[in-house]
């Protein structure tokens, strides 16, 4: 019997090194490929980080439906949806760079810490090479920063705060959705045309990042049109009954109420405002009006009849008649039985844009993808000609001004498009004061 070279110390050393190697996060083990989670087999894993619980769970469910549809189309299943109308023809329906697309999902819970934890888990445990999704700016900013550190690409879902591509922008992050500035710039001329230039506005604003940027954007755009802002009040995000915030509006000489609220806040504040008869009032000799800068069809449903005739803006709407929108609505509607939301649209488009960028770059390496997306101009995705601006990774495209429909024909038919605001009207310089601070930095390949 021989002892060979096996010693107690040797076993311990080998064990310790092997153990340390195994416990390292996946993305740190992929050093030889030069970037985090480089796909090595015949598949590539994408991470869909959407709210599956919490107040935005319905929006999250619609985002997930869209991602599943995108994965189907990328893998050559189904009717191909917007891949057929997309101006870039790099995608072939054989996965991404020939690798079959697989996906993992995480639940953001619409909480920054939970969203970071689920994104981290998808990167470290599941080997996701790209993270996408979300329905809140707080979450988007938090996950974007995490992806930058980890060296993966982040394709934001529904996030409307200026900060996502403003002071909190990151080189590895990209936003297709529009932002607060664009809402203000698109809405103000329509409001002035419909309600006149001599108006006094009162803002109720959700007390968090998105609320602040939306108030600032709408305020500055409407003031530039001649409106006066007579009051701005921050309301707690947890507020459910807004009556005590609505009644001071009755006491002011405001003739327009701007509700910088989203989701449940919007449903409740709008319902309360209508209950208090604001829309039946005459102030300063004018009909009192209410404005909701960011509309979501899914949320508008909760406010029922109260949305009728109220102006707002949206990133996309299923009733658009362009070829891309129709292809997506047909594909989504056939699979799920109802039209997609704007959240579903932006997520589907982001998934396709990422896949296309990888194909064009010929690599999954984040810095190669960043290069392919920066300055990329495309069409056929439902918003007309669009540019992914290199300076801040924000998409520039037309913005829809919508109004609550007076006579809806179905539960999905709540909004009507009033105007498609041309992209030139919502463009701004990368160093615009509303986007000041922060820097894109350099892309990070991770490992």
């Amino acid at each position: 019997m021989t002892k060979g070279n096996l010693t107690r110390r040797g076993v311990l050393k080998t064990g310790a090194v092997a153990g340390a190697g195994l416990t390292l996060p996946t993305y740190l083990r992929a050093q030889d490929s030069g970037f985090t989670n480089a796909p090595t087999g015949s598949t590539v894993t994408l991470g869909f980080n959407v709210p599956q619980s919490g107040p935005y769970a319905e929006e999250g469910a619609d985002e997930l439906r869209a991602y599943e549809l995108a994965v189907e189309h990328l893998n050559g299943e189904g009717d191909g949806g917007m891949m057929n109308t997309f101006s870039s023809k790099a995608l072939k329906g054989n996965g991404i760079l020939g690798k079959k697309v697989e996906y993992v999902t995480g639940d953001t819970q619409t909480k920054s810490d939970a969203a970071r934890a689920s994104a981290k888990s998808m990167i470290e445990k599941d080997g996701a090479v790209m993270i996408t999704g979300g329905s809140s700016s707080g979450v988007a900013v938090a996950v974007q920063a995490l992806c930058q550190e980890a060296g993966v690409i982040f394709m934001a879902g529904l996030t409307h705060s200026n900060d996502t591509t403003g002071k909190d922008k990151k080189a590895n992050g990209f936003r297709h959705f529009f932002n607060s500035y664009m809402s203000g710039a698109a809405l103000a001329p329509v409001l002035a045309a419909n309600y006149g230039k001599d108006r006094k506005a009162y803002h109720l604003t959700a007390d968090y990042n998105w609320g602040y940027t939306t108030e600032e954007a709408v305020k500055s755009s409407t003031e530039a049109m001649g409106w006066e802002t007579v009051g701005t009040v921050l309301t707690p995000l947890t507020q459910t009954d807004f009556s005590s915030y609505i009644t001071p509006v009755l006491q002011s000489d405001a003739d327009v109420l701007v509700l910088n609220h989203y989701g449940g806040n919007m449903v409740n504040s709008l319902t309360n405002a209508v209950q208090f008869g604001l829309r039946d009032r005459m102030v300063n000799g004018k009909q009192f009006e209410i404005v909701v800068p960011l509309y979501s069809r899914l949320m508008a449903k909760g406010a029922g009849e109260n949305v009728k005739g109220i102006f707002g803006s949206t990133n996309w709407h299923w009733s658009l008649q362009d070829e891309g929108s129709q292809a997506f609505v047909k594909s989504f509607g056939t699979k799920y039985g109802f039209p997609p939301s704007q959240a579903a649209h932006t997520c589907y488009v982001q998934a396709l844009l990422y896949a296309d960028a990888v194909e064009r770059a010929g690599s999954f390496a984040p810095c190669a993808v960043v290069e392919a997306l920066e300055g990329f101009e495309f069409d056929g995705m439902g918003n007309g000609p669009t540019l992914y601006r290199a300076e801040d990774h924000q998409c520039f495209k037309d913005v829809l001004v919508v109004k609550g429909k007076e006579n809806p024909e179905s539960e999905f038919d709540l909004l009507e498009i009033v105007e498609v605001t041309p992209v030139d009207q919502v463009k701004y310089a990368p160093d615009h004061p509303q986007f000041a601070g922060g820097a894109l930095g350099t892309c990070n390949n991770g490992a």
Binding site: A57, S244, P248, Q251, G264, T271, F276, K301, K330
Partner: protein
């Protein structure tokens, strides 16, 4: 002056909801000694009773609309409620319109049933456990209940309007000599306040003027002695749990036209309702009602722009500040009894 009257009115309807929830909480705490964190979920389930009945009454079948197509190009279908087929279009539409008030009749047996099952099935096993255990189990139950509701009804708020006769607002200012249009108040909120007063009155009358109520009050004061007299106090307390659940449920039913119900609405009220109970005095029914209205009115005043301009952020903390002040000056709350939660 008109601003002050408006905020008092606002506070009254907000206080009505706090008072109704806190009344049930105190009733359960006073009788069973249980700190019930699932009470907000009962308020939410009550609201969903209204949603359910409204959906049941609106159940419909599809009729093709000739010559029109839907978004996918298929023949367009129109929903026709069965109520129209059964009662005729006019009466059917009226029944659907009155779904929320009709839900009161639907919610009472449902909520009593849920309350009794909750007490017999789970909570009774925790009577002799520490309050921390009771809080954990009832909080867990609340999360389970809200997840069940979310599973079946989704996460988005569901609009459940008041009958069209109560839509709109009432010019209260014109009635009391102010300029027309200065003090406007929605009809349904006035209905809610009146409803809360009736329910609170009915609960007090039930406890004060019935033999059942007398025994319950005796049990609240000294459970052991009442038991020694041969009275099955446990059975009565179970019924009281069902009653408290019904009060919370009815508060939820009538609240649906004020704010579209969602699965989370119970949690939104729960914490504030506990503050109301503590400020009112643990185990004190009049204290719970008084504190409910008081804190509702204070919260309304703190939301005024003029007040926020002087003390920024006061709207978010006023209730807790007042609770601290009251508990520092009156440790048993406004109307708390000696010996409750003090052993």
């Amino acid at each position: 002056m008109d601003a002050i009257i408006l905020q008092i009115l606002n506070g009254l309807d907000k206080g009505s909801a706090y008072a109704l929830i806190a009344l049930g909480l105190t009733l359960i705490f006073g009788t069973l000694g249980v700190v019930n964190f699932a009470h907000g979920a009962l308020f939410m389930i009550g609201a969903f009773c209204a949603v359910t009945l409204s959906r049941l009454l609106s159940l419909s079948h599809q009729v093709a609309v000739p010559g029109e197509v839907d978004f996918l190009g298929n023949p367009k279908m129109r929903e026709v409620p069965y109520a129209y087929d059964i009662f005729g279009e006019n009466l059917g539409a009226t029944i659907i319109d009155w779904a929320v008030p009709l839900s009161i009749l639907f919610a009472i047996p449902v909520m009593i049933g849920i309350g009794v099952i909750m007490e017999r099935g789970l909570i009774k096993h925790f009577y002799k456990r520490p309050h921390a255990d009771q809080i954990l189990v009832t909080f867990g139950l609340a999360i389970v209940l809200q997840e069940i509701i979310k599973f079946y009804y989704g996460a988005n708020p569901i609009p459940t309007p008041a009958p069209s006769a109560f839509v709109g607002s009432f010019d209260f200012g014109a009635l009391i000599g102010f300029d027309p249009g200065t003090i406007i108040y929605p009809y349904w909120r006035l209905v809610y306040f009146a409803f809360a007063v009736v329910i609170i009155g009915a609960v007090f009358a039930f406890l004060q003027f019935t033999t059942f109520g007398m025994v319950v009050r005796a049990g609240m004061a000294d459970r052991e002695t009442v038991g020694l007299l041969g009275i099955n106090i446990d059975k009565r307390f179970t019924i009281m749990f069902g009653l408290a659940a019904a009060v919370a449920g009815l508060a939820g039913v009538m609240y649906t036209p004020i704010n579209s119900p969602n699965y989370h609405m119970g949690m939104d009220f729960l914490v504030l309702s506990f503050v109301v109970v503590v400020v009112g005095g643990m185990g004190s029914l009049p204290g719970a009602v008084l504190a409910g209205f008081l804190l509702g009115i204070l919260e309304s005043f703190a939301s005024m722009r003029e007040v926020i301009a002087i003390v920024p952020g006061i709207n978010q903390v006023v209730i807790y500040l007042v609770a601290i002040i009251i508990l520092l000056t009156r440790p048993r709350g406004l109307m708390g009894r000696k010996g409750v939660m003090e052993d």
